[in-house]
Subunit: 360 residues, 2 copies
C-alpha cells in the first residue's frame, strides 16, 4: 500500500486516489492499445473520442447547453488573463473588473498591459480582501464583467453571482471549479486551471458561450485565439493529452460520486466542520468575513507567527501537509478541494483541538 498524506496544498492539489490508481494501471498500455496515453497521437480516433467524452462530461455535470463549447487550452489563468481582453474587447466599450484579491489584480494588470480599455468597478482591497464586494453598478458600455469566483489566497468566495444582464459575465473559477451547483446560463465564459479541482497542472478548461467566438480578431496570437481553438475542437495544435485524460477521469469521478449535488454536499460538510472549529475557538482567528467564506480555501491566523510555524510543522509530522498560508495573509490555509476526503478535514480539526489545548 502506498503511503499517502492528507494534502492541503492550494494547487497543484490532491487528486482522487481512485483516479490516480486508474492512471497507474493504464500507464504502460492504455486499454489494450499497446502504448501509454502519453504516447498516443492526438489525431487518433481513441484520443478524439476521449476529448469528446471529457467535453460532454463537463457540460453534462453542470447542465451546460449546446450554446456553450468546452475548450482545453494551455497556460493556466495567466494565458486567460491575456486571451480575454485580446478576444473580447469591443470598440467603444470598456471591460469591467471586480478586484477581490491577487489573481483578480493580475487579470486587471494584464488588460492594462495590453492597452485595452478597462475599469475596476469594485474592490475589497480596503480590508485586505476579507470580503466580496456587493455594491457596484455595471456600465451600459461594458464589454464584459470579470470576476474571480474564489480567492485562493484570501479564502473568500462569491456566494451569489452578480446579475450582469446582457453584459457577458466572465469568471475565473480556477480554485472553485465544479465545487457546487450554479446556473450555467449566468455566464458567458468561465475558465479554470485544472490543477485545483479538475486534474493536473498544464491544462486549462474554458467554457465559452458560442456567440462570443465572433469577437475574436484575426491579428492576435493564434495560441490565444478562442475562435481558432473552438473551430478545431481544442485540437488546433497538440494539447496536453495526458492532462485532458486525467481531467476526464476526474469528471467521471464526480459523476460516480453522484454528480455535482453530491460533491457540493460533502464540500459543505467539510467547510462547516472547519469553520465551526474556528468559530468555537478564541485561539484561531479566521481571515475571511463570514458572509464571504470560501468552501475551498479556509484561512486563519494563530496568536503568533511562532505558533503558526509550529502548527504547520507539527501538522506535517501528523501527515497533514501543505497548510502554510500565503504571505499576503500569513498564518494557515487549508485547501479542501473536491478530492479532499471528509476524513482529512476531521483529522485536521482533531489536530487543531489538540494543538490549541497544548499551546493555547
Amino acid at each position: 500500500m502506498a503511503h499517502r498524506v492528507f494534502n492541503f496544498n492550494p494547487g497543484p492539489a490532491t487528486l482522487p486516489l481512485s483516479v490516480l490508481q486508474t492512471v497507474q494501471e493504464e500507464l504502460l498500455d492504455y486499454r489494450g492499445e499497446g502504448m501509454s496515453i502519453m504516447e498516443m497521437s492526438h489525431r487518433s480516433k481513441t484520443f478524439g473520442a476521449l476529448v469528446q467524452e471529457a467535453e460532454e462530461r463537463i457540460k453534462r455535470i453542470m447542465g451546460f447547453s449546446d450554446d456553450y463549447q468546452v475548450l482545453f487550452l494551455q497556460g493556466g489563468a495567466t494565458a486567460q488573463f491575456a486571451a480575454i481582453p485580446l478576444n473580447l474587447s469591443q470598440d467603444g466599450k470598456t471591460a469591467e473588473y471586480i478586484n477581490t484579491g491577487s489573481w483578480a489584480k493580475k487579470a486587471i494588470a494584464e488588460a492594462k498591459k495590453l492597452n485595452k480599455p478597462y475599469r475596476v468597478i469594485a474592490s475589497s482591497e480596503d480590508d485586505n480582501f476579507t470580503y466580496i464586494p456587493t455594491d457596484f453598478t455595471i456600465g451600459s458600455d461594458a464589454a464584459y464583467v470579470h470576476i474571480t469566483s474564489n480567492n485562493t489566497i484570501f479564502g473568500t468566495q462569491w456566494q451569489e453571482y452578480p446579475d450582469t444582464g446582457d453584459v457577458p459575465l466572465i469568471a475565473d473559477m480556477s480554485s472553485d471549479f465544479y465545487c457546487r451547483r450554479f446556473d450555467p446560463n449566468q455566464f458567458a465564459l468561465i475558465y479554470a486551471g485544472a490543477q485545483k479541482n479538475a486534474g493536473p497542472s498544464g491544462v486549462t478548461i474554458v467554457i465559452i458561450r458560442k456567440d462570443l467566438l465572433e469577437r475574436s480578431p484575426e491579428d492576435i496570437p493564434t495560441i490565444l485565439n478562442y475562435r481558432i481553438f473552438a473551430e478545431k475542437n481544442s485540437l488546433y495544435n497538440t494539447p496536453n493529452t495526458f492532462g485532458i485524460y486525467v481531467v476526464n477521469l476526474v469528471m467521471k469521478w464526480i459523476e460516480d460520486q453522484g454528480g455535482i449535488d453530491a460533491i457540493e454536499k460533502v464540500n459543505r460538510q467539510k467547510a462547516q466542520l472547519l469553520y465551526d472549529a474556528l468559530d468555537a475557538s478564541e485561539f484561531y482567528r479566521p481571515h475571511a468575513r463570514k458572509d464571504s467564506r470560501s468552501l475551498m480555501n479556509v484561512t486563519w491566523r494563530l496568536p503568533s507567527e511562532e505558533l503558526e510555524k509550529k502548527f504547520v510543522e507539527e501538522a506535517a509530522a501528523n501527515d497533514l501537509v501543505g497548510l502554510k498560508g500565503h504571505r499576503s495573509v500569513g498564518g494557515i490555509r487549508a485547501s479542501i478541494y473536491n478530492a479532499m476526503p471528509l476524513e482529512g478535514v476531521q483529522r485536521l480539526v482533531e489536530f487543531m483541538k489538540d494543538f490549541e489545548q497544548k499551546n493555547g
Copy 2:
C-alpha cells in the same frame, strides 16, 4: 507484462519503457512524500529541485554554457511562433525565415499575423519540400534567422546549420530535439514541443541565450514573455509539473544511455537501416532528397494508394503502428525518435521486405 507495440507515431510519440515504468512506480507516492508528483506544489522545495535538475541535465547533455537559460513553457511550437516575433523583433530590422515545410510556414504566418516585419529568404516549396535550401543570404538588417531543423511531415532535416554570424539563429527543434550532437554556440534560441523526443505533450523546452532577454517588450502577453519566465526560472505561474517531471526522466535516460553521442549513434544505425532498405527497392520511393534526409522521420511512397493503405493496415496487425504518412506527402512515414529501439526498425524493415515480396 504489459502489451507494447512499436509506435511510429509522429508525436505524441513513443517514450522509453524504463521512463514509463518509473512514472508508474512513483505515481501514488513520489519518493516517500505521500503524494503523486501531480499533486505536489510547484513552489515546494522538491519540485523546485526537480526543475533545476531538468534544466541542468538539458544544458549538460549538449554542453550549453551559463550564457544560456532553459525555460519550460506551455503551448507547443504554436506559442513560440508568436513569442519569437513578439519578443525578438527590433525597430528597423526584419526577421528572416527559411521555409522548409508546413511548420516553417506556420511560423512565418504568425509573424505576418502579428504585423512584424519579416521576409522569407529561402524556400523549398518549389519541389514539395523534398530538400533543405542551401543558397541564401542573411541581410545585414536581420533581427533573427528562423529555421525548422527537422520537417516532420516531409522527412527532411538540416545536415549542417547555417552560419548567421552576429544575427541570432533560432531553430524549431520540435521533431529532432537532442537526436544528435550540435554546437550550442551556433544558436541564440532553440525550442521544442516535448512530445516527440523529450516527453509528453503540454511542455515546451526553450533554450535561450540570455542577452536576448533584454529584447522582450513590456506590452506583450505575460504568458509569451521570455524575460518574465526567465526571471522566475519557469515558475512565474504553475507550469505543467507532470510534464517537466517526465522530461527530466527522459533526459536522465539519455545520460544513462551514454549521452548524446550514444543516442546519435543508435539514431544513425536506425536511419541507415531504413534508408538502405528503401534504396535497395524499386517498390518503395523515398520522398526526401538524399542530401536532406531526416534521422527522425522517414517518408516514402508505394506504387499505389491502395497498397499504401494495405501496408499501414498489415503493419499495424504486426504491432508496427502509426505509419500512415501526412496527407501533404501521402504514403508512409516512420517516425524513429530517440526512444524507438533499434529492434523496432529491424522489425519494420523485415515487414517491408515481406510486404514487397507479396505485393511487388
